[in-house]
């Protein structure tokens, strides 16, 4: 977990309420981490430390769980999250080319964030719209049957928007 900007974070009221709700339920850790990520977009180190105290679980265990699951992020993602589906149907229909084109356009690789914090690229497992393959989503908005030629337009639409 990067130790930058640790001081900024305190557990929000909403998250604290959630933690109290779940505190005594067995198996609460993953649900609490989901709620945390919903709040901050990722899991800040400081918050993970606070959660450790609140629910009495070692930070090492929390770190172990976070890094085991793909869904949880340790670093702040870009303002726009471009998720390219790499399910089999999308892969066969050219999802790899879409990622290549995105990398060229944004100058960053998969799982990276652009310097201006505008974009992050991730490759995700099946989004489940295989009829629309290849598919990508930007902040949850779905683009189906995407062609590499459209990528510049899609990026431009979300940049600064």
């Amino acid at each position: 977990m990067p130790a930058t900007a640790m001081e900024e974070f305190t557990i929000t009221d909403g998250l604290m309420e959630f933690i109290h709700q779940w505190k005594d339920k067995p198996g609460n850790l993953i649900m609490i981490l989901h709620r945390t990520q919903q709040e901050y977009g990722y899991i800040p180190r400081k918050i993970a430390m606070d959660i450790a105290k609140e629910i009495g679980v070692p930070l090492a265990k929390i770190y172990g769980v976070i890094t085991f699951y793909h869904f949880f992020k340790l670093e702040k993602p870009g303002r726009n999250m471009v998720s390219v589906c790499m399910g089999t149907a999308c892969y066969l229909k050219g999802a790899g080319d879409l990622i290549q084109e995105l990398e060229n356009l944004l100058g960053i690789g998969v799982n990276c964030t652009s310097d201006d914090g505008e974009f992050s690229i991730e490759s995700v497992r099946c989004v489940g719209c295989c009829g629309l393959a290849p598919v990508l989503t930007v902040n949850g908005e779905v683009y189906g049957k995407v062609k590499t030629e459209q990528m510049a337009e899609i990026v431009a639409k979300h940049r600064g928007a």
């Binding site: 067995p26 198996g27 609460n28 850790l29 993953i30 649900m31 981490l33 989901h34 172990g64 769980v65 085991f68 699951y69 793909h70 869904f71 949880f72 790499m86 399910g87 089999t88 149907a89 892969y91 066969l92 229909k93 995700v124 497992r125 099946c126 989004v127 489940g128 719209c129 295989c130 009829g131 629309l132 393959a133 598919v135 779905v142 189906g144």
Partner: protein
């Protein structure tokens, strides 16, 4: 209040991502504006299955089937169809140039039998009364008032239902093991909705289209096995399904169909949702249970099986979504009825997500034993662009390929296993001549390597080794010895891995090598990729006879490596070429050659 028209708008994730919600709202607004809001009911349903043509709007009683509808088409559907009684021909689904209204006239649906998807595309999944109107919760009522746990297990035994999550274990036996544990202070019922197979979305569509069928089945299992608590473990990547499940649980509680004293009996049953967090291995039941417990999702050796020692060490019945969705209808219609569908050893139907290089991609449900040919050509409508069928991959990263030679083999648990593949959860990916079989095997291995939890060495090390070998072959650096290594490492992984993920991970490589040995040889001995996918093995050249010097390829080339004057032969600089294939795709005269 009687309605004279029903408009069903598909609200599955595929259609929803293509503006289905906007269409629904526009239909509502137009209906109000034309003063017909009172006489036509507009409902957003679960997935219709025909995802290729989405978004879909169906109008009853006329049975008009409108495809690829756009939000701005809503006004015309209302003003023409509802107000004037004329169908909107330009939106009607057309088959072989003719309009095909009515499900029975659409090839995609003709060979399908809808048991699991009985309510998907018919009811509003966010309204429990619509589920009840289609005999929903009748099975739970019957079980609680007329049947003993023993009767329920006998009925399941008669039905011959086997788990739909992959391995096909008889459901009644799982239930019986848990029911037989007498000294447990707590038992659990778990629904496995961690659908991780890339290219498969059966479970999600069921939960989105008919969530109550799963809740009802879990309550039935609770009664049968003596559990009062259920968990649904679902991927966090499925927000729509999670939301509809939440609504369904809430409504069922309000109506006394979940909670305490269900239907006035002394049976209590409650269901909670737990979110997965993107780990394929959590589809394995012991790993899934670990994840519900808030731990890293690592599998445990079995036995003990979850049926006797599962969640928090308590006896736990765990089934997959599709298995659950079969239960209520088995109880209401009887095990004998269910057993009459399918083959001798594989009963009932199976839902497949038919995707890849296929004309009608979508969700299809067919009786067990249906030949692959029917699925690919009759339901799927064949391969697009006149390309040649190559193979179908079933079972995703755990399965193998079925080739054209075996296209008439009936699809059931046994036959798929004989062919070296598995049923899996129901992903069915069609490949055509443009797909490289080695590349696809590498794709799956890359997946399983990334998803391996790392607990046992055969999977952790073996998977990586296999991937490296396949990668070498796709780069033209493979040797004949490597093919032997694939076999020996693969067989070791099968025997020694701890869980299903590692045991089945070598299947895509072993199966594709078995059926497409020549293609592996071409990569190794001839240094060519017959499908032109493996970039390191592809070379683009321009034919002297065919090139007319139109300059199109040179203009398309992103690295400016094609030289040539107008009306003169063009030449590709092989040193600079990045093998992107733009020239090959651009040439209108077939002058760019790929070898």
């Amino acid at each position: 209040m009687a309605f004279n028209h029903y408009l069903l708008v598909c609200g599955g994730t595929g259609c929803e991502s293509a503006n289905a919600d906007k269409i629904y709202k526009n239909l509502r607004a137009s209906a109000e504006a034309h003063g017909v809001g009172e006489s036509c009911q507009i409902v957003k349903t679960g997935c219709f299955g025909f995802c290729e043509k989405g978004p879909i709007v169906k109008v009853l009683p006329e049975e008009n089937f409108y495809v690829e509808v756009k939000p701005e088409d809503a006004e015309e559907i209302i003003s023409e169809q509802i107000v004037k009684g004329r169908s909107v021909d330009r939106l009607q689904y057309k088959e072989k140039g003719k309009e095909a209204s009515g499900i029975e006239n659409i090839g995609f649906y003709q060979k399908q039998v809808r048991v699991v998807l009985r309510n998907c595309g018919f009811i509003n999944p966010e309204d429990i009364t619509e589920y009840i109107a289609r005999d929903g919760y009748a099975a739970l009522g019957k079980v609680l008032t007329e049947m003993t746990p023993h009767d329920v297990i006998e009925e399941l035994k008669k039905s011959g239902l086997r788990g739909r999550g992959g391995a096909g274990f008889p459901t009644w036996r799982k239930w019986m093991f848990t029911a037989e544990v007498k000294d447990a202070d707590q038992k659990y019922v778990v629904c496995n909705a961690d659908e991780g197979d890339p290219g498969a979305y059966m479970d999600r569509s069921i939960l989105e289209g008919d969530p109550h069928s799963v809740l009802e089945a879990m309550a039935i299992a609770g009664f049968t096995c003596g559990a009062d608590k259920g968990f649904i473990y679902i991927r966090a990547e499925y927000p729509l399904a999670i939301n509809r499940l939440k609504i369904a649980i809430e409504q069922a509680k309000e109506m006394g169909l979940l909670g305490d004293n269900i239907l006035g009996t002394d049976f209590n049953f409650d269901i909670e949702i737990r979110l997965g967090a993107g780990a394929f291995v959590c589809g394995e039941e012991t790993a899934l249970l670990a994840s519900i417990e808030g731990e890293r999702g690592m599998p445990k050796p079995r036995p003990p099986f979850p049926a006797t020692k599962g969640l928090w060490g308590k006896p736990t019945v765990i089934n997959n979504v599709e298995t659950w969705a079969n239960i209520p209808v088995i109880i209401t219609k009887g095990g004998d009825w269910f057993g009459s569908i399918g083959t001798a050893t594989s009963k009932g139907t199976k839902v497949f997500a038919l995707t890849g290089k296929i004309n009608n991609s979508g969700l299809v449900e067919v009786p067990m034993g249906t030949p692959l040919r029917d699925i690919v050509y009759n339901i799927g409508g064949g391969i697009p662009d006149g390309k040649k069928f190559k193979a179908v991959q079933t079972g995703g990263p755990s399965g193998g390929v079925i080739t054209a030679d075996n296209i008439d083999v009936p699809i059931d648990f046994e036959h798929l296993q004989e062919l070296g593949s598995i049923m899996g959860s129901g992903g069915m990916i069609v490949m055509d001549e443009d797909d490289c079989i080695v590349d696809v095997a590498k794709f799956y291995l890359e997946f399983t390597v990334e998803e391996s939890c790392g607990k046992c060495a055969p999977c952790r090390v073996g998977g990586r080794k296999l991937y490296n070998i396949l990668d070498k072959i796709t780069k033209g650096k493979g040797t004949m010895e490597d093919l032997e290594k694939i076999k020996s490492i693969g067989n070791a992984m099968k025997k020694a891995s701890l869980c299903g993920l590692g045991q089945t991970a070598p299947n895509p490589a072993l199966s594709s090598m078995h059926y497409f040995y020549d293609e592996y040889l071409a990569h190794i001995k001839d240094q060519t990729c017959p499908s032109g996918v493996c970039k390191d093995l592809v070379k683009f050249t321009i034919s002297e006879e065919k090139c007319i010097g139109c300059t199109l390829c040179a203009r398309k080339c992103p690295v400016n490596c094609i030289a040539g004057e107008r009306k003169a032969l063009h030449v590709i600089d092989q040193e600079k070429c990045i093998k992107c294939g733009e020239c090959f795709n651009a040439c209108k005269f077939g002058a760019v050659l790929r070898a």
